[in-house]
Symmetry: C2
């Protein structure tokens, strides 16, 4: 992390300083507004990856407030589409996810959030939500969704 | 699905015929129908992960046909939301992604596709689409989006 916060859009040659006043999460998000593309629902998908094992743990969605809270607290927050409410991951289970770093993809419409997790990511108790193998035998056409532990 | 589906990869001049969809692939998807939850647009997000390095390479969307073609060919296919057309990853760039395995998440609305990639995932030439670090120092409030190579 640079000593002076930098906001880089595109190539390194386009490096642009963020004003020193950008100390609040809401201002951080505002400063990134031109890069982050929330969808028509105001959401951006966030892939959560274990920073130690590199396993992909889950995919969830952040709205602007969830992103601000994630930045502010260093713990993942999401927008629950099914419950239509903010969701502080771990608030119920104790399995908080502590943000190590975040990446924005090339076209600004997906986040990759790498975390140290206090416990399983999945509400089923599985380490990762991606525990169902989706195997296909191209020769036989046989298929299955098996509840195998992901090695991913 | 038409007997001889066609799609355009890149420019119209690069039109490429797709073989008649395998009866197996469509049956596989049909068999998984009760598990897979396509969204209201008929899409499911697919996280693509490098099976060798475990780096997260990209997030793209599959509709039913893209999923069938992915299963049938063993190479990733997506639905391009911006171009509103099927997209065979690598058809233009040569950077095909060969499917190693796939996982479905706990609630069936996200796929994790682990691949061997023939080349960079990103249209910018970067190895991964997640090459812009989005780092925040919670203490100082400093933030940055830097075009660093992801270690993810």
């Amino acid at each position: 992390m640079p000593d002076r916060p930098r906001y880089v859009a595109g190539s390194p040659a386009e490096t642009e300083p963020i004003p020193a006043a950008s100390v609040y999460a809401s201002e951080v998000v505002a400063a990134l507004e031109s890069d982050i593309r929330f969808d028509e629902r105001g959401l951006i998908p966030a892939i959560v990856q274990d920073a130690e094992t590199n396993a992909v743990l889950m995919l969830a969605y952040m709205n602007r407030q969830a992103l601000e809270l994630t930045i502010q607290t260093g713990e993942t927050h999401f927008w629950s589409r099914s419950r239509a409410e903010l969701w502080h991951k771990g608030a119920t289970s104790g399995n908080y996810q502590h943000v190590v770093d975040m990446q924005l993809d090339c076209d600004g419409d997906t986040l990759l959030v790498r975390v140290h997790a206090d416990g399983p990511a999945c509400h089923t108790g599985e380490y990762t939500c991606f525990y169902r193998s989706f195997s296909v035998d191209a020769d036989s056409g046989e298929s299955a969704v098996d509840p195998n532990e992901s090695e991913g």
